[in-house]
Amino acid sequence: MTAAVQLRNISKSFGETQTLRDVSLAIRPGEFMSLVGPSGCGKSTLLRILAGLAPQSGGTISIDGTGIDHLPPSARDIAMVFQSYALYPHMTVRQNIATPLRMRRLPAPARLPGIGRLWPGQRSKHNGIDQAVIDAARLVEIEPMLDRRPAALSGGQRQRVALARAIVRHPRVFLMDEPLSNLDARLRVTMRAEIAALHRRLGATFVYVTHDQVEAMTMSDRVAVMMDGEIVQCASPAQLYGNPRDLRVARFIGSPEIATISSDELIAENGGFAPVLPRDPVTVAFRPEAVLLSPAADHLEIPATLERIEQLGPELLVFLRLGSGTRLSARAAAGRIPLSAEGQSLSAWLPARGFMLFDANGRRLDAPHIREFADAG
């Protein structure tokens, strides 16, 4: 049932513009893989190519080692859930879910709308389909709504119908194109958990496209971050957060956004940073939880101005501004820090080691050439 999906050097261009450049991705059997990136990064295009809805300009796709490039969408054993759900408005929920099976199992005359049921010799097939529809509906808990039309359902219920329509034929690979983006925030959290649970229950390979990094981080085994038609980094959520290989990834993953300060500015604010930073100008990045508002060991103080505080209940997000206008955010436990007026001057303590460094092209510097060693050498 589960299948490995292999994308090799996929490229796609629409006329002059190149949407995908040499994208390669190996998805393991049963994996929940998210494609995440800002809008226009090519993630939906990649999914549509995988589904067979659009041809690639170059490269190959294989499932379990077999090339599927020549196959039409229906023959790829792939199901897709669309952002708009794409339910057939004239069919009941039951008919919607049954459609993929009707098209596959019944001969042409028997699937004519309305009169198809009269075609002889299909009773057992019809019964099989009816049972499969009920099973799929039960799995996503929409059994009571089988005889309604999509127009009479709420957004979340339509989403479930779309899922059931994908589940019903037990495909090897599920593709989901921003399936939660039309739902309200509360429902999105619920459905997030349910889709993740569904993935565990079905054990099938999921490829999930989203622009929402929280969705990608919470649901996936691995996340492929796409920027400008390329996969910048593909790793587990924890890896992406803690060990981004590219400044764009570091900025895209995590909220509030990672703070970036040029090494020159940092040294100007506190000379103590000079020995721990490389000689060449680099970008230093601090996650909000690395920024402290009280003195601590191995941390260096810099002056800042309070810009804004966001109360999140158990914790606070404190937004600061440095003298040159560079922004910095800190995560602090609520009630611990007596802060009041905006524009108030205060000090922030930044770690003197263990920060992330990126070069001028935004690439991560693995072993920073610390000035101490350079001077010593």
Partner: protein, 309 residues
């Protein structure tokens, strides 16, 4: 059960007040001009005509006599009227289905083009914009039994010539063909509008669901989603076909030997050639009654059966 399942979509049917509450006097005062216009221009003429249909009024006579249902009794005994009624139904049965199917066919065909959609739509829409009387003259010439290019073509191919409007067999069909020709373009535009309203991702979902052939997708997605448009097109085409008059008046005058006598033309002759206004009014009432049936079907079926949202 998750929270989103318990809340169903409720469509409020209660009227919503948008503005301030007006006193009845002002409200009726504001409605009065349109009510007056409606009565003067629509209701009153219809009432007059219905009243007239119960009299023996002849145009130009000073006296007027109430004869009850005499006109109607006479109508249904009248061979000419029954023939006109029959001809009209036969005409509608030819024009309505053919123009709807041809319109749908053209719309789907043009929708599948990658280039020149606009051009072809324009070409097929041209007959709609042309004056029917002028085009009828052209058709009369084209299909003329001896000098018409259509017959010259047949003759040059060694086929027997067809005198379309000269014989009883083909005259009505010939008129129907002209109406189909002009109506199909109009229906095509309506279907084309309906086609653009079908969301593209439904076709993608259909492709994923195994509808590989275009025919499957047409039957399972396009056609059902065109339901509302189709119903509208069928009803308007039927009504238009029922109202056939100008081609009959210009080309055949109801002939040959009554083969193209239709309801409106007979009514016209009765009222404005023989000046029997009473019986012409009765015919018009019959015509109106038939129209009402279609209007009713349109209102009921259209709103109930084929709208999905």
């Amino acid at each position: 059960m998750p929270a989103d399942l318990t809340q169903s979509v409720s469509i409020s049917r209660a009227p919503r007040r948008l503005g301030a509450i007006l006193s009845p006097r002002i409200a009726y005062g504001l409605a009065a001009p349109s009510v007056l216009l409606l009565v003067l221009t629509v209701m009153a003429p219809i009432m007059m005509m219905i009243l007239l249909s119960f009299t023996s009024y002849k145009f130009g006579e000073t006296g007027i006599e109430w004869i009850g249902i005499g006109n109607y009794a006479q109508l249904f005994g009248d061979r000419t009227f029954r023939r006109a009624l029959w001809n009209t139904f036969a005409y509608v049965l030819m024009v309505a289905p053919a123009s709807v199917l041809l319109g749908l066919f053209l719309a789907v065909l043009i929708d599948g083009l990658s280039k020149g959609q606009r051009f072809y739509r324009l070409i097929f829409f041209l007959p709609v914009t042309a004056t029917v009387v002028a085009m009828a003259m052209v058709w009369k010439y084209l299909l003329h039994g001896t000098i018409g290019p259509f017959n010259l073509l047949l003759q040059s191919l060694g086929l027997p010539s067809l005198d379309v409007f000269g014989g009883r067999d083909l005259a009505l069909a010939g008129l129907a063909a002209i109406n189909i020709w002009s109506l199909a373009g109009f229906n095509m535009v309506l279907f084309a509008a309906g086609l653009t309203a079908v969301p593209e991702d439904l076709y993608e979902a259909a492709a994923m669901d195994g509808m590989d052939s275009k025919f499957d997708r047409f039957l399972n997605v396009t056609l059902p989603l065109l339901g509302p448009v189709t119903m509208f097109v069928i009803v308007t085409s039927t009504i238009t076909a029922f109202k056939v008059f100008d081609t009959v008046a210009v080309i055949t005058h109801g002939g040959p030997r009554g083969a193209t006598d239709v309801l409106l033309y007979t009514t016209y002759l009765e009222g404005f050639s023989y000046f029997r206004m009473g019986s012409a009014a009765a015919m018009t009432v019959v015509f109106l009654a038939i129209m009402m049936v279609f209007a009713w079907i349109q209102a009921r079926v259209l709103d109930r059966k084929v709208h999905y949202r």
